[in-house]
């Protein structure tokens, strides 16, 4: 500090008013929820999670309305179709697709619709005695297989023309990395490799072993999985909060006994209980059973949490004031204590949902899930397991759906936990 600073305007040394001082000082303050929402919005990962959750819910709830077909419609001729099709252009704008078990399909370019082409008797074709109306049954075809002269060739009839499918090269190639292609002859033209690979417009996710549209089934799976998760969480919430609040508020002996019971239940992996429950009650309808099983077992975590919160909150003075005013116990618990503990409760519920989805998938995977033809993601995955190397997409889509949903809820839950933490509150 030097002399130059003394050279200041005498005017600066006048007193200032209260308002001027105040202006420097204050800043607006937010409510707990507004502050939490603000913090949550800043958390990009949590916002991604929130978006994911909304998307999945839309997918499951609204999605099926865009389709006429149902999740249980079977079409045997269209089974095990992948989401991407290698098409052979066998004629002008005539695209063909051959399935792994040699169903021959013509694919409409515009709509993606497919229809099956009838297989015909090889011998008849060979001898030229084919009658356009004569079509063979599968057993007849099987009979003839041994008596063929031309091996590794199938014949099909489209309109009035014969299609010859030579799959010798395909057979020789490896199962997983098909290297060679079909050789298809139609109306005198032979095509030796696929001309284009398109996405399956009729069945974007492909079809399963019974020809059911996988996209629709995954959508319904979303409904089922989410429904189970939400309701189970709700049941856990109700039971857990009530139990925990009472234990925490009453304290003393009641609390000790109630917590002992919780400890005993907790002393064994809860999944074992669920499995036992499911085994016991299996035959009486999958959906309700699972919800019941999930709801009766996982409330213990919530109860512990709520009890802890209540124990901490009940020493606060506004509770004492409420008691002094004669407010009933039930009101104190549900109107004062629980709402103030909502932060951790909400976080807990958000994390329970992916847990429930996981458990439901897990149960389905070991065969204790909803019964056919209803499909949850877990049952879809289970069904697809055996075909994992040949039809990987059947497993991929439900597994992916499970993973995305769980990730979204987890990110959201993590974000909520940070946003609702009162210690991080600012302003």
């Amino acid at each position: 500090m030097g002399d130059k600073d003394i050279d200041m305007n005498k005017e600066k040394f006048t007193f200032v008013s209260e308002e001027e001082k105040l202006r420097e000082d204050t800043r607006p303050s937010l409510t707990y929820w507004a502050d939490a929402w603000r913090r949550l919005k800043k958390n990009r990962l949590a916002m991604v999670g929130l978006a994911g959750v909304i998307l999945v819910m839309l997918f499951g709830v609204v999605g099926p309305y865009f389709f006429e077909a149902s999740y249980s419609d079977q079409r045997n001729d269209l089974r095990n179709l992948p989401p991407r099709l290698e098409l052979y252009e066998i004629g002008d704008d005539v695209f063909a697709y051959v399935t792994r078990d040699y169903n021959f399909l013509i694919v409409e370019e515009e709509t993606g619709e497919m229809f099956n082409v009838e297989r015909v008797n090889q011998e008849e074709v060979m001898s030229g005695r084919i009658d356009v109306d004569e079509v063979l049954s599968p057993s007849q075809i099987r009979e003839q297989r041994d008596a063929v002269e031309k091996t590794n060739v199938n014949f099909y009839q489209l309109d009035d023309e014969i299609i010859e499918l030579d799959y010798a090269n395909k057979l020789a190639a490896g199962d997983i990395e098909p290297e060679d292609f079909y050789k298809i002859t139609y109306k005198g033209n032979t095509v030796e490799k696929p001309s284009v690979t398109v996405r399956n417009k009729a069945y974007p996710f492909g079809t399963d072993g019974l020809g059911r549209d996988l996209l629709i089934r995954v959508m319904y799976g979303a409904r089922i999985s989410l429904l189970v998760a939400f309701i189970a969480t709700l049941v856990n919430f109700i039971i857990g909060v009530t139990y925990g609040a009472i234990a925490g508020y009453e304290g003393g002996q009641t609390d000790t006994i109630m917590m002992r019971i919780v400890d005993i239940i907790n002393s064994v992996p809860l999944t074992l209980y669920i499995i036992l429950l499911m085994v016991m009650v299996k035959s009486s309808g999958g959906l309700g059973t699972i919800i019941l099983a999930l709801g009766t077992v996982y409330w213990v975590g919530m109860a512990r949490l709520v009890r802890g919160q209540v124990l901490a909150l009940k020493e606060q003075e506004y509770i004492l004031a409420a008691r002094a005013l004669g407010v009933s116990t039930r009101k104190i618990v549900f109107k004062h204590l629980v709402p103030n503990a909502m932060g951790p409760i909400i976080v807990s519920m958000t994390m329970m949902i992916p847990s429930a989805i996981f458990t439901e998938s897990f149960l389905s995977f070991i065969g204790l899930g909803v019964s056919a033809p209803m499909a949850s993601w877990g049952t879809l995955a289970n069904n697809a397991l055996s075909g994992i190397l040949t039809y990987p997409y059947q497993l991929f889509f439900p597994a992916f759906a499970i993973a995305i949903t769980m990730l979204s809820f987890n990110f959201l839950g993590d974000g909520l936990r940070d946003a609702l933490d009162p210690r991080l509150r600012k302003g």
Binding site: P269, L276, V279, G367, A403
Partner: protein, 309 residues
């Protein structure tokens, strides 16, 4: 300290007892009885079972027989596998399950804890983000999704691993990773957050204020405290590996207890289900007991008070 161990031991035994009893009554409570469900039981089995379980005898007598059977490790014949005793199944399945399970535990402790510590020490640096990203994926993606991905990609496409079974040594890689994945990620995150919490504590500041070298502060003062919640997690971790093994063994076709359990569920093989459930429960409770004792060694406060976790 001895009193504490004894108390925990007694509680454990009582709990196992309770679980076995509950299992017994649950099985008996199935409407229509366990032996007349979806498929008719072959007469040979029915005769054996009736002889063994005294199904006409009063419930209390059946109960006593059942409990004696459990404690002498003789649980009767399997329902669906004719001629096979349940003990044989369990004992036969132990080697496979135990090996994969142990590898998983080694992976979890050997990778999870060190990386959790490293992540905490290098908070918000690139390695922290990388570890946290993987760990978050690990806790959110279910084990069977991981398993199927491994099979499809590493076995199917790349051919690095066998697609199933543990005959070849490489066959252990897939199941171990899939089985350990969740718990490994959880332990990493837990260790990290616990470490971060500990490093904020006053006593760490005291140690630094006294001039203690930084690596001693971390390795001696911080780590021991940070591991306390991690040790507490080992109980649930074992549970996770147990239940995870059902799915993993089924997917990878490993002949372990988990696979037999799943099979017995599908086949409604009640004797096996009961026995394996009791086995799992007992094993789990034993692990929790070990953890509680270990916990007392680390945290002196527990030794002197009736600490509740």
């Amino acid at each position: 300290m001895g009193k504490y161990i004894l108390k925990r031991l007694v509680v454990s035994v009582i709990t196992i007892f309770l679980i076995a009893t509950i299992t017994f009554f649950m099985m008996r409570a199935i409407p229509g009885g366990p032996f007349t469900r979806e498929r008719p039981v072959p007469p040979e089995i029915l005769r054996q079972l009736e002889a063994k379980y005294n199904l006409d005898a009063p419930l209390s007598e059946q109960y006593v027989d059942y409990m004696i059977g459990l404690f002498t490790f003789n649980m009767g014949p399997s329902f669906s596998k004719i001629g096979v005793e349940v003990n044989e199944l369990i004992l036969g399945g132990i080697p496979a399950s135990a090996t994969v399970g142990s590898f998983a535990v080694i992976l979890i402790i050997g990778i999870g804890i060190p990386f959790g510590i490293i992540s905490a020490l290098k908070q918000n640096k690139p390695i922290d983000y990388a570890v946290m990203f993987l760990a978050t994926l690990g806790v959110t993606v279910p084990s069977f999704v991981v398993a199927t991905f491994i099979i499809f990609f590493f076995a199917g496409r790349l051919g690095w691993l066998p697609t199933f079974g543990i005959k070849q040594p490489l066959g252990y890689v897939g199941p171990t990773i899939a089985l350990a994945g969740y718990s490994l990620s959880f332990v990493t995150r837990l260790t990290r957050s616990s470490m971060l919490e500990v490093l904020r504590q006053d006593y760490i500041r005291t140690a630094r204020a006294n001039g203690i070298p930084e690596w001693v502060v971390i390795a001696k003062h911080a780590v021991k405290n940070a591991l306390i919640p991690v040790v507490t997690y080992i109980g649930p971790m074992v549970a996770g590996i147990l239940t995870g093994s059902f799915v993993i063994e089924k997917i990878f076709l490993i002949p372990g207890i988990g696979a037999y359990f799943v099979e017995s569920i599908t086949n409604r093989d009640y004797t096996t289900i009961m026995a394996i459930t009791a086995f799992y429960a007992a094993f789990y409770i034993l692990m929790v007991l070990i953890v509680d004792v270990a916990y007392a060694f680390i945290d002196p406060r527990i030794r002197f008070e009736r600490g509740s976790r």
